[in-house]
Symmetry: C2
Subunit: 312 residues, 2 copies
Amino acid sequence: MDTPALVIVGSIGIDHIETPFVKKENLLGGSVSYACAAASFFTSPGMVGVVGDDFPEEFLELYRSFDVNLEGLQRAAGQTFAWTGVYEENMDNRSTLETVLGVFEKFEPVLPESYVDAPFVFLGNMHPSLQLHVLNQIRSPKFILADTMDLWINITRSELIEVVSKVNMLTLNESEARLLTDRHNLIDAAQQLLTMGPQFVLIKKGEHGSMLFSKTGTFIQPAFPLAKVEDPTGAGDTFAGALMGYLTQQNACEEADIRRAMVHGSVVASFGVQSFSLDALQPLSTHQIHDRVSRLVSMMQVDLPCAVNASA
Amino acid sequence: MDTPALVIVGSIGIDHIETPFVKKENLLGGSVSYACAAASFFTSPGMVGVVGDDFPEEFLELYRSFDVNLEGLQRAAGQTFAWTGVYEENMDNRSTLETVLGVFEKFEPVLPESYVDAPFVFLGNMHPSLQLHVLNQIRSPKFILADTMDLWINITRSELIEVVSKVNMLTLNESEARLLTDRHNLIDAAQQLLTMGPQFVLIKKGEHGSMLFSKTGTFIQPAFPLAKVEDPTGAGDTFAGALMGYLTQQNACEEADIRRAMVHGSVVASFGVQSFSLDALQPLSTHQIHDRVSRLVSMMQVDLPCAVNASA
């Protein structure tokens, strides 16, 4: 089979989500679901993940409708990974009520032979030893992005640091950046992370957007302002998936490319949170993405030096 | 005397501030102190405020060193307004330990004859009836900005709404915008505020920057990223003062001008918070401001449509 230009590895889950407004059960979730759907607007990503024998056929159909390459999708006997969570009133804080690891507990991300020459790789948030296992199979990577979370910083720090040393870009949120570096200030923390290996550090700030740090510069990406957020679950994975999809489509990974990719990632994520699961991404068109990209860029636009006539 | 092109009205205070790192007493503070110092990099602002007979001569010298027009500064018998506050560890939250109104309690902002033809006016945060009193004296305003706070929203809502209906731009923070409109979502709240009179609504978000809303567009202004903040007191006044100073210098108030003014305001405020009181503004040069403006604009820069060759 054809080598996908982008391989995405991560969790596939069944989500049960409660927000202040509504409760939804048996939603398709997991980092690789969101990331692959988001990337699919720019490239046909190769998925690596595992599902149990309870995984609904309709969700497989959904993946196919996004033109996701499923050769790397494993099926195992047992229950699919499941997550139950509840959002507080402001939608910022969430609590996990239950996590059932199921078949994800023994997940071994073995890449199909057709995947190992993929130039772009997104290592979704999972145990660093699984991320290293994927890294060891990739033969000629051009650009690797790794995501992580506080859990791995706390319990598997040394393996995580090894992952960080081997990737081109690391993404994490503000508090995780502080936790991993023991630096309170975000700028200090990002500079410290840059000394650990990656050329780029991408700090996610939720509704406040994201920041890119590198030796060549800093970029501040605002989130697209939304009047209504229905479900923020998977926003970070959607953002990173679209970002990697864009870089793959452009076959480019300089800072200027990553800035453009972040705008696209932010926009696709802004659609994603307007409904549960992949509901808002499924009917989305590239025209809608381009339209919102233009609007977001216009909201970031300032023209200097000032050409205004002082006598105006 | 010459009419100043910008008049700024607000409080003058003696601040006693405690941060997690240091405690400082008898600092020059107050909205009009910060705003006038910040505006002075662009124009010579006319100050309207009141001090008691205890006000140190050295602070008057400090105002003069910023080339502030002091014709509108009143001296009254009694104690100068004083504020004692303490910042929590993250520097985000602060508590007021003591407020002594002193001569500010009977402050009547009477403008000198030379001020009443000023085209640009900044009504600093104070009782809305005082803001209205100033508005009634201004003969030919071109652009008026009003600031406010939760206290006035709670206790003098109808007078505040009258102020809002009479100004070109309203500035307030996120929670105040929600409080004044009873809309939880920031976009909704801003749109609601635009129906109340002003052409522009400027939402301050602290370290996350600010947002400008108008009928012609939305602008998202990030804060200049800082590795160290020593004292955030007066940051909003510094931001707004420099913004108004810039508009006055340009004699312009279209949305594109306000965007540029916000960049300058954000930069001057970023210097201001790096020391207590006006300590970081006093030695500041326009060259340093321009340099940081360039750096901030480069952090906001993204070039679209993408010109990257897909075969690169």
